[in-house]
């Protein structure tokens, strides 16, 4: 059908591009300590972008017989569409040889997912027999294909494997809730997930009071992801930069953060969840510094945004079936520092380690502000983790905080979604409680 759509579109428009998505996801869910459901989700659809009389038209469909409507709708929207100030790319000379498909994942059966999920559940239940445990395990595979009237024809086949686990332990009116998870394009050892949940449960049972004041705060990789990453993702998007609505938009080539901070957009790590050989417009992906030694190096672009900004597209075009390409990350790697986590904790006299937060994303993320409930956080006293805190808010500004950080851990840990993040100590953040 993809070639038929392209032919039909080529007859009514100067240029056209068809994006085809096919995938099959198989999630298995365990709830309240037992198996609950097994599902199969098949998705097949097409998106069409045309350039007609110098303007962009866009439509998508998941109808099996939707080709004619698809073309008609693209033509309809092109009457009002934005100016096409870029050209669709031709076939790339070469694509990076990143591994994104694992046969071992593709052939996992539902029965095997059930078995592995049960093993994760049992592993956690063994350590915490009184807890309610939920496990989600999923495998998926799919293809992206992209063709256009400039002769581009690329296809990529990928796999996905993910496990998430959560635990709830109620004592009186206190709910200790923990979740952790990992995903990848290849299989990984479930013990990582089991241990993460077990360790957090063991440390979280004792509740301790904490003062309202400014104090050193260590964010775990998950804590960083949940609390601080959104402002970051917004800030380096070429679309935001173009309009000058991020604090780093006017700092290209300038020192904007602590010189120990280096952050990369990296789409070519083998089997990393967000890795892919080409972006959703057919351009090769790469590893590119966003920040190097605290200096702003690059922003991410899709074709249209790059053209408007007078910048080079960076292989970061990203889209779902229902939207035009926008700048999107191919994974994010924060470079590790030089101190072991144990030593970072030892160096804190009175502070907080933050792992899960609630609602920190809501508010002025574009300005870099965050303010969230510490859903799972441990108080540090005289270099020791002494217990879990409750009814506590942590707040600050990411960009202010990153100008003057304390310490970065010497390991960057894999997180869900193809992100690699070390523990980071901020020397002074506001912590508030009742």
């Amino acid at each position: 059908m993809i070639n038929k759509i392209l032919e039909m579109a080529a007859r009514v428009a100067q240029d056209a591009e068809v994006f085809e998505v096919m995938s099959e996801e198989t999630p298995v869910e365990f709830e309240n300590n037992k198996l609950k459901s097994a599902s199969t989700r098949s998705i097949k659809g097409y998106a069409l972008r045309i350039i007609k009389d110098g303007k962009i038209g866009f439509s998508s469909t998941t109808k099996p017989d939707g080709a004619a409507d698809l073309v008609e709708h693209a033509v309809e929207t092109a009457q009002f569409g934005q100016e096409a100030n870029f050209e669709l790319p031709s076939q790339p000379a070469a694509l990076p040889s990143v591994k994104v498909y694992d046969e071992e994942v593709a052939k996992i059966s539902v029965e095997q997912l059930v078995e592995t999920g049960q093993a994760v559940l049992d592993g956690i239940r063994q350590a915490e027999p009184g807890a309610q445990v939920a496990v989600g395990i999923e495998k998926a595979y799919g293809t992206h294909r992209l063709v256009n009237t400039k002769g581009l024809d690329v296809e990529s086949k990928g796999t996905y494997y993910g496990i998430g686990a959560s635990l709830e332990l109620i004592q009186g009116t206190d709910m200790l809730q923990i979740w952790d998870g990992l995903d990848s394009r290849s299989k990984f050892d479930i013990i990582e997930v089991i241990n993460a949940v077990k360790e957090k449960a063991a440390r979280g049972k004792n509740i301790v009071p904490i003062d309202t004041r400014t104090m050193p705060v260590i964010f775990t990789p998950k804590g960083f992801e949940m609390t601080l990453s959104l402002p970051f993702y917004i800030a380096f998007s070429g679309k935001e930069v173009l309009q000058g609505v991020t604090p780093v938009s006017d700092k290209l080539g300038k020192q904007a953060m602590d010189p120990r901070i280096s952050i990369y957009d990296d789409g070519i790590i083998d089997y990393s969840t967000a890795s892919r050989p080409f972006d959703d417009e057919g351009l090769p992906t790469n590893r590119m510094p966003l920040i190097e030694n605290g200096v702003v190096k690059n922003f991410i672009y899709d074709l249209a945004t790059a053209a408007k900004a007078g910048a080079k597209p960076t292989g970061n075009g990203q889209r779902g079936l229902g939207s035009l390409p926008n700048p999107g990350y191919n994974g994010m790697v924060i470079q590790a520092g030089d101190t072991a986590l144990e030593d970072i904790i030892k160096g804190v006299e009175y502070g907080l380690l933050v792992d899960q937060t609630l609602g920190a994303w809501a508010g002025n993320a574009r300005g870099g502000d965050f303010s969230g409930n510490v859903h799972y956080g441990l108080k540090i006293e005289n270099g020791e983790l002494v217990g879990r805190v409750k009814d506590v808010m942590v707040a600050g500004n990411v960009f202010e905080g990153l100008k003057n950080i304390g310490t970065i851990e010497n390991v960057s840990h894999r997180q869900s979604g193809g992100r690699w993040i070390p523990h980071i100590l901020f020397s002074g953040l506001s912590v508030a409680t009742r």
Partner: protein, 455 residues
């Protein structure tokens, strides 16, 4: 369609099977600053089969009805693999009905060029407020859905839904300081909700500029008065989610904690779900299991009296189904969700009464979002002002509140008489299904000892 679906529902070998088939057509226009960002037409078609065998669930979703019988077989096979107990579904009379929206102004009768024109005007309203407005975003979409639903109990519901959403956001900048404000509307029956918004949008943009010079709130514990819009989100986040019985039915610890009759707040506190509000995305005649939606008291005079159910959670807890099983679309199974949730107003308390004995506190307006874990919840205030000596005083910014359901509801010491259903609907997220249209409302109310994050 009905014959095709009914035929596929025969000879299945399961305890229960349902099929949903859905068609959609969506038009969307968005602007960034003065420039058109995208304009699109999206057509969708898909369906799913959900089957229960011995208490286990199988679910299959797809984009073509070819071989529908095989899809039923696969869902039943998956359910058999999972099920080891007994399927429990609360009995409900099988509904046969046709549901059509009562439309005031149909977005499909408005030309794309008129929609684009209005979006452009709203962008201009914000950008003309001066050079402190760095940029703005305007997003408009309308979606028409046709949904066929049938199950092995004999239900057949053919429904159509329309949903119009318009949102605007102003971004102000001074040096490295960036502030933003938003305002949005939604309706299931009227394109008119998106018209004549120039004045509202201008005020919203001006507030974004004022935020640049407002101080950041100081972190700590405050007396907080919430406005009707935030009050609604409070009902949703602070209590609504905890009332969703799918997380409770098979969790004995949770059932003990959420036992009916437990006191959560004062006698003045009433929280309900299922209000019949014209135009709200949360207003349903039937949920996505074909169960008629009915109003449900969650908290009555401060005491827990009810909860939100699917057919399964109702059966497992020996309670009546409430019509709260909802699915975002055909790619998801229905799970327990809210509809229109609200805090009921009191008879005679006014905002002035509430303010009068607050020496220092916060007055918070509307929310940019919130999150809950069951016990803990947070909200981000869209706008906030200090209260000083009984009066609303200077603007502050960066106000995110947190509460604990077991103490914060008790700390509500005054509830106003002025409930308002905001024109904006909400988009709720749970189990990866977001944004599901919901409504929420409440009167002004006052909370003592509420923790606010800040510098």
């Amino acid at each position: 369609m009905r014959n095709l679906i009914n035929d596929a529902l025969k000879d299945h070998g399961a305890d229960y099977v349902e099929i949903r088939v859905e068609e959609s057509d969506r038009t969307a226009v968005s602007y960034r600053g003065r420039e058109l960002d995208s304009i699109s037409r999206l057509s969708g078609f898909g369906g799913n089969v959900r089957a229960a065998v011995n208490g286990g669930w199988g679910f299959v979703s797809f984009n073509t009805l070819d071989n529908l019988k095989d899809k039923v077989k696969l869902a039943v096979l998956q359910a058999k693999l999972v099920g080891k107990e007994k399927t429990q579904l609360a009995p409900v009379p099988p509904v046969v009905d046709e549901v059509r929206p009562v439309i005031v102004k149909d977005p499909r009768t408005v030309s794309l060029s008129d929609k684009k024109q209005l979006v452009e005007e709203y962008a201009e309203v914000m950008l003309s407020l001066g050079d402190k407005i760095q940029t703005c975003f305007v997003n408009y979409s309308d979606t028409w859905n046709k949904i066929y639903y049938a199950n092995t109990d004999g239900a057949w519901i053919d429904s159509e839904r329309v949903y119009v959403v318009g949102s605007t956001q102003a971004v102000a900048r001074m040096g490295d300081d960036i502030q933003q404000n938003t305002s949005s509307v939604s309706s299931t029956r009227d394109y008119g909700i998106f018209e004549d918004r120039h004045e509202d949008i201008r005020k919203m943009g001006e507030a974004a500029i004022e935020m640049l010079s407002a101080p950041k709130v100081k972190g700590g514990s405050y007396t907080v008065i919430v406005d009707p819009s935030l009050a609604g989100i409070f009902a949703h986040e602070a209590f609504g989610h905890l009332s969703e019985a799918d997380d409770m039915a098979e969790n004995q610890q949770m059932r003990d904690l959420m036992v009916l009759g437990r006191r959560f707040g004062g006698k003045h506190l009433n929280i309900l779900d299922g209000a019949d509000v014209l135009g709200s995305g949360g207003t349903l005649k039937y949920d996505d299991e074909g169960v008629a939606k009915k109003p449900t008291y969650l908290v009555k005079e401060g005491v827990l009296v009810g909860r939100l159910h699917s057919r399964e959670s109702a059966a497992k807890m020996g309670e009546e189904p409430t019509g709260n099983a909802r699915a975002l679309n055909y790619t998801f199974p229905p799970i327990v969700r809210m509809t229109n949730t609200y805090v009921a107003p009191s008879k005679d308390v006014t905002l002035e009464d509430m303010l009068s004995d607050v020496d220092e506190g916060l007055y918070v307006i509307d929310s940019l979002g919130g999150q809950t874990s069951g016990e803990m919840f947070t909200f981000s205030a869209r706008e906030a002002f200090m209260i000083r000596k009984g009066k609303i005083a200077e603007r502050v910014r960066g106000v995110n509140l947190t509460g604990n359901v077991f103490t914060t509801l008790e700390n509500i010491d005054s509830i106003g008489n002025d409930i308002v259903w905001p024109k904006k609907g909400g988009g709720c997220g749970k189990g990866g299904q977001a944004p599901l249209p919901v409504g929420f409302a409440g009167p002004h109310f006052r909370i003592r000892n509420c923790v606010v994050g800040g510098k």
